[in-house]
């Protein structure tokens, strides 16, 4: 088949999908709430992009933007234990250790995007892969993978991520040989259990080579990589470990619904590989609910991260992170009368968190109305 005819094929194949997208965009534009959400998110993207202009990192921190400037004059005059109200110099005031709230809020936007997108992105990919494999192949693989998600889902997210953050060491010696050994053994087992055709054999052979190689390196000279894990990275890891099972569950249900449809049978009968059947026929028909949940989840991941920061296991005090800014002044604001005087220390970063989450939730809510075939054409 020549390249041009393939391209023509692709275009005709894509036509219904394109019109589908156009329909969705039209529906999105009609909904006020969706547009409000989109505008909020765009504002935050703007803040994140313009952060170096809006709040230039001071020279005193040697240009490191991830340290909130600390007001040294206040520190000498007032001491660290009293937050100072907004002035011209500090538009939003300063926190408990005289960290500038304005700077923290602006740069915290980048942190928020980083936390939300990383956690949701990685857990979405992991969840979709695991859930699809479980549903498509069924049997023992399904049992094992789903029981594993059951176990993680038995915990409240905040509690398990709390325990993981606390337990995770600052630096881990990552044994690469061990890691490759584990991964390749997993895939060899999986592909052995699958359809035993030519592609399957190639995969098994490929992973077996890696397996043998990693066994050899493991025995003779383990490759060990010392990884330094920052406080925020720990939060990211914990939240990812906690949130992938819900995606796996969701996509599994959707794939189970689709996998016995006629078009899947047709694809299998015409000799497509499992990989092609899954990526071209099953996933496009089952992935939308996952996207809706993912959009809504970005908000709730930020909330959990903020809650972790508030109870004192987030990033270090100087780090620009919204939850951490509130947490810095926690001992003052939860202590009676002072809460009124120190209103700004929790209200401003709190509003940033709330607006960010509202934006994603409005968008996710609208996406649900647009993408959910049960609700939309009414």
């Amino acid at each position: 088949m020549s390249l041009t005819s393939r391209w023509e094929d692709f275009k005709t194949g894509m036509r219904p999908r394109l019109s589908e997208w156009r329909f969705m965009l039209k529906r999105m534009r009609q909904s006020n709430l969706a547009m409000a959400g989109l505008i909020i998110i765009l504002c935050f993207i703007g803040i994140a992009c313009l952060a170096p202009v809006l709040a230039p990192p001071p020279a005193s921190n040697r240009g490191d933007p991830w340290i909130i400037p600390q007001d040294q004059t206040y520190l000498k005059m007032i001491g660290p234990n009293v937050p100072t109200p907004p002035t011209v110099q500090h538009v939003f005031g300063t926190t408990y250790y005289q960290y500038d709230i304005y700077y923290g809020c602006i740069w915290g936007t980048i942190t928020a995007f980083r936390v939300g997108l990383t956690v949701v992105g990685i857990s979405l990919i992991a969840g979709v892969i695991i859930g699809t494999i479980a549903a498509f192949y069924g049997g023992v693989i399904d049992e094992i993978l789903m029981r594993f998600t059951d176990i993680i889902l038995a915990f409240p997210g905040l509690v398990l991520s709390m325990a993981i953050v606390l337990a995770f060491p600052e630096a881990i010696p990552l044994n690469l040989s061990e890691l490759f050994l584990g991964i390749s053994a997993f895939f060899v087992l999986i592909f052995l259990g699958l359809k035993r055709d030519r592609t399957g054999a190639i995969w098994v052979a490929g992973f077996s080579v890696i397996l043998v190689f990693s066994v050899l390196t493991y025995l003779y000279h383990p490759l060990i990589l010392a990884l330094n894990i920052g406080k925020l990275d720990k939060v990211l890891i914990a939240l990812t470990l906690v949130s992938w099972p819900s995606y796996a569950r969701l996509i599994r249900g959707e794939v189970l619904r689709v996998k016995n449809e006629d078009f899947v049978e047709a694809s299998k009968a015409s000799g497509s590989s499992d990989f092609r059947t899954i990526t071209r026929h099953i996933l496009p028909n089952s992935i939308y609910p996952v996207f809706i949940v993912a959009t809504l989840d970005i908000g709730s991941v930020i909330l959990t991260a903020a809650a972790l920061a508030f109870i004192g296991i987030g990033s270090p005090p100087y780090f620009p992170d919204w939850g951490q800014i509130v947490s810095n002044s926690e001992s003052v604001i939860t202590n009676g009368v002072a809460i009124v005087h120190n209103f700004y220390t929790f209200f401003i970063p709190g509003m940033f968190i709330a607006m960010f989450v509202v934006g994603w939730n409005l968008l996710g809510d609208a996406l649900r109305d647009v993408l959910d075939p049960m609700l939309r054409r009414r």
Binding site: L33, R147, F148, D150, I151, I152, A154, F155, P156, L158, V159, L160, M162, A163, I164, L166, A167, F168, P169, G299, L303, A306, A307, F310, I311, G312, I313, G323, V326, I333, T334, G336, V337, I339, V340, F343, F346, F347, G350, I353, A354, V357, V358, N361, L362, D365, M374, L375
Partner: protein
């Protein structure tokens, strides 16, 4: 299936505990009143074979767990299990008010906004649920504290009861008996309704915080479930039979729409009972949730691990109860 999850939960928690240094882990095994902590740790390492491989240690830990020994908590200076038992009643006081409010408001607003779809009630309750779902709970709590305690002085700044009642209860001359450990009920049982009122007064703001946050999800689920049910053929049939709108909505639709809400409510109540970590910290309520935060601040690992395992167990049990409850709500399941 249930057993599998329970065993899995303990294995997972054990893996997490194995990440801690050996001295910290030793505290998990210590029991009885200890005075010399370093010596107790050294003894525990030898006695429970803490240098052995993973699977050997797991059995030792599990048998301790099954005997109800969850280790020694440094922060509360007592056994973890005793510490949890003394802190839990405070959490229970909040949940006692919050849980029914959440369930009733959630179901009511969900149904109303579904039957008046796109009407003013729907718009307002949708906005409320989105905003409630988007606010960090510490933000709501602190805001309420600032407005209602700081500015208006209607409610106290926090705590679970006025200081004078704490001293009153502590004084042996007053013969205050802790029948249940829940001050709210003990006040009535001791013939001190003023104490009960005082506790309720302290509960108001935490309860509002919890309700604002948690009712949002219930409204959303109830609304979408109700909308789905309303489009079912049997609703059309019911209308065609000439039944009144009220009967169709409340007898036919709502009852069927409640099924997914039941699961959610079960998990919600289980979640509330395991401690309101943020809310209790903001209001200094002194329940299980606040104790957890204190444990985190002082790296009291045995308490945190015990708490983690207990919450998971409670969730699994709540799931089981919800499954049983289904049979009452949904007659189709009983027939199977």
């Amino acid at each position: 299936m249930l057993v599998f999850v329970l065993v899995g939960v303990t294995i997972l928690v054990f893996i997490v505990t194995m990440l801690f240094p050996i001295d910290t882990r030793a505290l998990l095994y210590v029991h009885g009143n200890i005075h010399d902590v370093p010596k107790a740790i050294a003894d525990a390492i030898v006695k429970y074979n803490l240098k052995a491989p993973f699977y050997v240690q797991y059995w030792g830990w599990l048998s301790q767990l099954l005997h109800g020994n969850l280790g020694w908590s440094i922060t509360s200076n007592q056994m973890v299990i005793t510490s949890i038992a003394t802190k839990w009643p405070y959490t229970f006081e909040i949940v006692l008010f919050a849980a029914p409010l959440i369930i009733f408001i959630g179901i009511y607003l969900g149904v109303q906004s579904a039957i008046h779809r796109n009407g003013p009630i729907d718009q307002v309750s949708r906005l409320l649920s989105i905003v409630g779902w988007s606010l960090p709970s510490f933000f709501v709590g602190l805001l309420l504290l600032a407005v209602f305690a700081g500015v208006l002085h209607w409610f106290p700044y926090g705590g679970s009861m006025t200081m004078s009642w704490t001293t009153f209860m502590g004084n042996p001359k007053n013969h205050f008996v802790h029948y249940t450990g829940v001050d709210l009920i003990d006040g009535l049982l001791n013939g001190r309704p003023a104490l009960t009122l005082d506790v309720i007064w302290h509960c108001v703001l935490p309860v509002i915080t919890v309700v604002t946050i948690d009712v949002a999800l219930l409204i959303r689920v109830m609304r979408s479930s109700m909308l789905e049910t309303m489009s079912k053929p049997y609703i059309t049939t019911a209308r065609a039979k000439g039944l009144s709108n009220k009967v169709v909505i409340y007898k036919h639709a709502r009852r069927n729409a409640l099924i997914p809400v039941a699961t959610l409510s079960g998990m919600l109540v289980a979640g509330l009972l395991t401690g309101l970590i943020i809310t209790e910290t903001v209001f200094g309520f002194g329940g299980l949730g606040q104790q957890v935060v204190r444990a985190i601040e002082n790296l009291d690992i045995p308490f945190i691990m015990a708490y983690t395992v207990l919450t998971a167990l409670l969730f699994v049990i709540a799931n089981l109860i919800v499954d049983i409850m289904y049979a009452y709500i949904d007659p189709r399941i009983r027939l199977d």
